[in-house]
Symmetry: C2
Subunit: 257 residues, 2 copies
């Protein structure tokens, strides 16, 4: 009820996984109308070209690295919105999957500031598109679980419970603990469960690795794959052409040996 | 390896949850270039206006209702692609979440036909935007599970296992069994777990109900909510302003009684 006279507003805008043409038409319009653009470091840096009238402020946070404090980002959004400006807060992927949108929405509401949300494509979907697979091929599973390996209290997710669902697992922010999380999953899932890493999904820099769960951590390390990346695990990943090629290549190698 | 001379192609295109401005820029371009448009009945019917050069063929399938057989859709796509045409197969939400994209991709590959995939916004994300919440508010959960209640063999998902993950549940195609699935979830989750139904999420016809798990089925039925809708369950849903209002309204009512 406070600050009902605030005329500015904040748009939480999903920048999608990377390529600018994966933005929605609605996002493109909001960018064009932005006065202030707060850009996350997981978003494509070229997104500023779509907001020609905006003052651009670079903020961002990436697990373990130096980042702009959340409280400072909150204050910036509120300050400019209270000046009557249209603040567009750009977030990579979809703003409503990880990335602290929940806390930002709460704080803005408490300050009496109107919040719009513009959806987008999360990187797990782009990763599946790169692999040419459905996340939920019905021969394999009944759903997909998006989970962060980077928890607020630095604990681990309950990998056994997640594996027990039988859903495809799409693990975000897991690259710096890929060895431990795959080891945990191997306590429940079989060694030959199809698995993949897609780095920079949905961008020109996309790199993919498709293998089995028991080999995932080692092969990802050997290939030099790192953040930002999505780890995908489950039978549905076995539908990727790259998985079939890998199996054939392995078989050929075995025959030759 | 067969049919390497096929010059046509198929684009599996995600139409998003409803409003046309939730299409991606890439989807918009693909529609403009389409020769043949196969439109799902979960997609916004007005999408044809974005494909002025395409011959439009309406296909679709909705659980329990009459629908175009999958095999016929497959044959249509292959026939037109083999004629050298650009076939755009439109699917509601994101093509890679439910909706049989996996089977369509496999069949097209076997026929030697090139497949492009264009991502989009799935209705679960639009539902969260409508509610003004993050799907994964880190005070409440470490992820979100998208699951279909409509399984290939007509069995039920393992609700206990899904609830045990502690993730937000986004249940698709669950409205015709909302009483039984909420009853199953109540064996694991507490009665006052926040829960919501969002019908026609991300469209002008969006309708929302926010309540607790124990009241969800009855209130959804009383409100006349039906398919297509997303059912959202978990602590993160309690961040919705509508949940707070509901609690206050209930308290007020109790005081007055």
């Amino acid at each position: 009820m406070s600050n009902v006279n605030v005329k500015g507003k904040v748009t939480l805008l999903s920048a999608g996984p990377g390529d600018l043409d994966l933005l929605t038409l609605r996002a493109s319009k909001a960018l064009a109308a932005a006065d202030i653009l707060l850009v996350d470091d997981l978003a494509n840096a070229d997104i500023v070209t779509l907001a020609p009238n905006a003052r651009v402020i670079r903020v961002g946070k990436r697990g373990g690295c130096k980042s702009t404090p959340q409280a400072f980002i909150q204050r910036l959004m509120q300050r400019y919105a209270k000046k009557g400006l249209h603040v567009v807060r750009v977030k990579g992927g979809d703003a409503l999957l990880f990335g602290r949108a929940g806390e930002e929405i709460s704080a803005l509401r408490e300050a009496g500031i109107s919040v719009d949300i513009v959806n987008g494509v999360s990187s797990g979907f782009a990763a599946a598109a790169g692999l040419g697979i459905s996340l939920t091929h019905r021969d394999h599973c009944q759903g997909v679980t998006f989970v962060t390996a980077h928890m607020q209290d630095h604990s681990q997710p309950d990998w056994a419970a997640l594996a027990a669902t039988g859903t495809t697992l799409a693990i975000y922010m897991g690259m710096n603990r890929i060895a431990s999380l795959t080891a945990s999953l191997l306590e429940t899932l079989s060694a030959n469960t199809p698995a993949a890493v897609v780095q920079n999904a949905g961008s020109q820099q996309e790199r993919r690795l498709v293998t089995t769960l028991d080999r995932l951590a080692q092969e990802a390390t050997e290939a030099g794959l790192g953040s930002p990346a999505v780890i995908l695990i489950g039978g549905a990943i076995g539908e990727a052409v790259e998985f079939a090629k890998r199996v054939h290549a392995t078989e050929g190698f075995a025959h030759a040996a």
